[in-house]
């Protein structure tokens, strides 16, 4: 009996080892079964993607789509790196912008000949274009700023169109603060500097002074060359004034406010404003549907030449095709991306399911949520500033910007310390590249 048992055990071991060695055969012929591996970062749209994939698989029965998602405060870049090294490379993955374009240059399939390229709005492909070749398909267009509760502003008697300067914002905050009990709010602004929402401060708020430079991209180039500094730059002085204002009128302890805490306190009507972007709409709707909300610009000063009346709009992430994948997988990947950008179902997915603002002109469906509409209004009026953070060196946002901002919040950094720290680290990281 004992013998039998040991033989069975050994056999099962051998079998399981042998099973590991079996390689899935990859076919290159069309209409042969293809397994398309997608590795993406947007946790907010997993259900919507699953349903899109189900329809895609009906349209192309020979393609089986497997999707993995890492994001929502988790480190997508690091995970992608591990995934690529594991040998199980995804066919479709995400890149964020220029620094990742350079990092993964050997992995990117040119998509210049794809039909959706001609439909993409001006400027949406700039970050993933190199030497005339396009390497990424934009997810969507997104924007962030100060989301405000229109009803509360009316009750408090504040005219939102008047808020185009820091002084006006300060006055509005003070007015809301004085009418707290009337409005039923705990705090004026919902903000965070740590936990799962650290990026709302250390990336998004931090981007504003970059975006408001006379020429943001020249400024980044000058930083890279070491000819410009953050310390002594007036936009960054303005940024610190904005932070001080935020700290004064937001929660007592911003360090441990999670993303859930941040948007839910706004959706529950406990704050009048929320520093976030239109991607939050799904979560807000889950709590309180049909809220009457829109964007306010984020002013850094009273000087009109600083474009203080703009909100920050950009393309958050791009879909890229792995050039090392088998030909059949690459074909399937391009089919899937085009299905998303060009088909009826894709348009429905982008606009209705995900509440995205499309980056393509062929999509005529109108955004039906208030935040997307607000962004479209700002875009049409030309009142937008770019997203610049993707141009900063690796490691500059997390951990550097996060560390500096949290230290400033805790009072361990003075204004000068904070800005000098940002300069020193920038040069260190540029050199380490």
């Amino acid at each position: 009996m004992k013998k039998l048992l040991s033989i069975t055990l050994v056999l099962s071991l051998i079998i399981s080892l042998a099973a590991c060695n079996q390689k899935v055969s990859e076919s290159t012929l069309e209409n042969e079964p293809v397994t398309l591996n997608i590795f993406q970062f947007k946790v907010e749209i997993v259900d919507q993607l699953d349903s899109l994939i189900a329809d895609f698989e009906v349209a192309y029965p020979y393609i089986n789509v497997v999707i993995d998602t890492v994001g929502g405060g988790q480190d997508y870049g690091g995970s992608l790196n591990k995934r690529m090294n594991s040998g199980n490379e995804p066919d479709i993955f995400n890149i964020g912008g220029p620094s990742e374009l350079a990092l993964w240059e050997d992995y990117l399939e040119p998509l210049t000949d794809q039909p959706w390229v001609n439909n993409a709005f001006d400027g949406t492909l700039d970050m993933v274009t190199r030497d005339g070749e396009v390497y990424g398909q934009p997810y969507n267009v997104e924007g962030y700023g100060l989301i405000y509760n229109i009803d509360m502003f009316e009750t408090a008697g504040i005219d939102p169109t008047s808020i185009t300067t820091l002084t006006a914002l300060k006055e509005a905050f003070a007015t809301l603060e004085s009418k707290k009990s009337e409005l039923g709010i705990d705090k004026v602004l919902s903000f965070s500097v740590g936990d799962s929402a650290w990026w709302t401060a250390a990336i998004h708020a931090f981007n504003v002074p970059f975006a408001r430079q006379e020429n943001p991209f020249d400024f980044i180039e000058a930083l890279n060359q070491g000819t410009a500094t953050i310390h002594g730059n007036d936009r960054f002085e303005g940024y610190l004034n904005l932070l001080d204002l935020y700290f004064e009128y937001s929660f007592d302890n911003l360090m441990t406010v999670s993303y859930d805490d941040q948007y839910s306190s706004f959706a529950l009507g406990k704050t009048a404003l929320l520093h976030q972007g239109n991607w939050t709409i799904n979560q807000i709707n889950d709590i309180e549907e049909n809220m009457n909300i829109a964007f306010l610009p984020v002013p850094l000063s009273d000087d009109p030449s600083w474009k203080n009346d703009t909100i920050m709009v950009g393309v958050p992430q791009f879909w890229a095709v792995n050039t090392n994948s088998a030909a059949g997988n690459k074909e399937a990947a391009k089919l899937f991306l085009d299905y998303m950008a060009s088909s009826e179902r894709g348009a429905q997915f982008i606009v209705n399911d995900c509440k995205f603002i499309p980056a393509f002109s062929n999509i005529t469906l109108k955004a039906n949520d208030p935040l997307s509409q607000s962004i479209q209004a700002y875009s049409q009026a030309g009142k937008t500033s770019p997203w610049v953070w993707m141009y900063t060196p690796n490691g500059y946002l997390d951990p550097t910007s996060k560390e500096g901002l949290q230290k400033y919040y805790l009072g361990e950094f003075s204004k000068d310390d904070y800005l000098k720290f940002l300069d020193t680290k920038y040069q260190e990281l540029v050199k380490a590249k």
Partner: protein
């Protein structure tokens, strides 16, 4: 087939799979890691790797965050080694008394150890942020200040590890011959004196093991660190393991991260060997 040969077959059949796995996931990565620490490897497969000598190692010593994380790790280890061993030993004394519920208590105290550190971290984060401030009637929570956040981490790892360490002490206490305790009782030793002069010296081997486990465990701490504080606030609870990961995967500076990891290994090895050596000397033979 003679018995010797059969034994040999059985021996290697059972050992080989483990050995292969051990080589694949420990030995080989360790050796390639040493190689990478002398290069400018950036973890993008297919890129040429350049050998850059000791540059990575020199950078480690010029990195302020490394020094900070090193001191934090020492502080944290101090807290958690003390807490885990005191709590573990006290629990062991408690459950070796003649209590009706002794067995049940042992199971209960051991249970937190069955939950992974990541999950424990998330559960305790909720407790520290949402529940404790309400109980203490103050808006402050432990995770928002650097000093208390480090202590919070030590509390969570104590919650997790104390039961495990308790089991080791229980085994040691139970192996103390009853006569010793009885004889001392007759000689008029009170409970404290019995613990001080009989139990302590005789469980010294268990101290060696427990100290080794808690010491290496707290130096290597990553899971609770990642889920409870994630290095916040402002990288002031970022222990060495997390610092290494951040250097490699966030700054994408894999060579330097790897150099830190090699030094980290040497450091833990030296400390652990010294500790085992010095504790061994204090053990008494029965």
């Amino acid at each position: 087939m003679n018995t010797k040969f059969r034994k040999w077959i059985i021996f290697w059949t059972f050992l080989t799979p483990t050995l292969i796995t051990f080589f694949l996931v420990v030995i080989i990565p360790f050796l390639t890691g040493i190689y990478y620490s002398f290069s400018d490897w950036n973890a993008i497969p297919g890129k040429p790797i350049q050998f850059i000598g000791f540059a990575n190692y020199l950078n480690v010593f010029n990195d302020q965050q490394v020094m900070k994380s090193f001191l934090l790790t020492l502080t944290y280890s101090g807290y958690s080694i003390l807490l885990i061993n005191i709590v573990g030993f006290s629990l062991a004394l408690l459950v070796t008394q003649r209590l009706r519920t002794a067995n049940l208590l042992r199971t209960i105290f051991f249970m937190p150890n069955l939950i992974g550190g990541l999950i424990l971290g998330y559960i305790w984060k909720f407790i520290f942020i949402k529940i404790l401030p309400d109980l203490m009637l103050s808006g402050e929570n432990m995770l928002s200040k650097p000093t208390t956040a480090l202590l919070a981490m030590a509390i969570v790892s104590t919650w997790q590890m104390a039961g495990y360490i308790m089991v080791i002490y229980v085994a040691a206490i139970q192996s103390i011959p009853e006569e010793f305790l009885e004889a001392s009782k007759i000689d008029g030793a009170n409970a404290l004196q019995r613990i001080r002069h009989i139990v302590f010296p005789l469980v010294a081997p268990a101290f060696t093991v427990s100290l080794f486990l808690t010491l290496s465990g707290s130096f290597k701490m990553y899971d609770v660190n990642a889920s409870l504080t994630a290095g916040e606030p402002a990288r002031q609870t970022e222990l060495l393991a997390m610092e290494i990961l951040s250097k490699a995967f966030k700054e994408l500076n894999f060579g330097e991260g790897q150099a830190q990891a090699v030094l980290f290994f040497v450091f833990i090895a030296v400390i652990s060997i010294l500790q085992v050596y010095s504790s061994k000397k204090r053990e008494v033979e029965m």
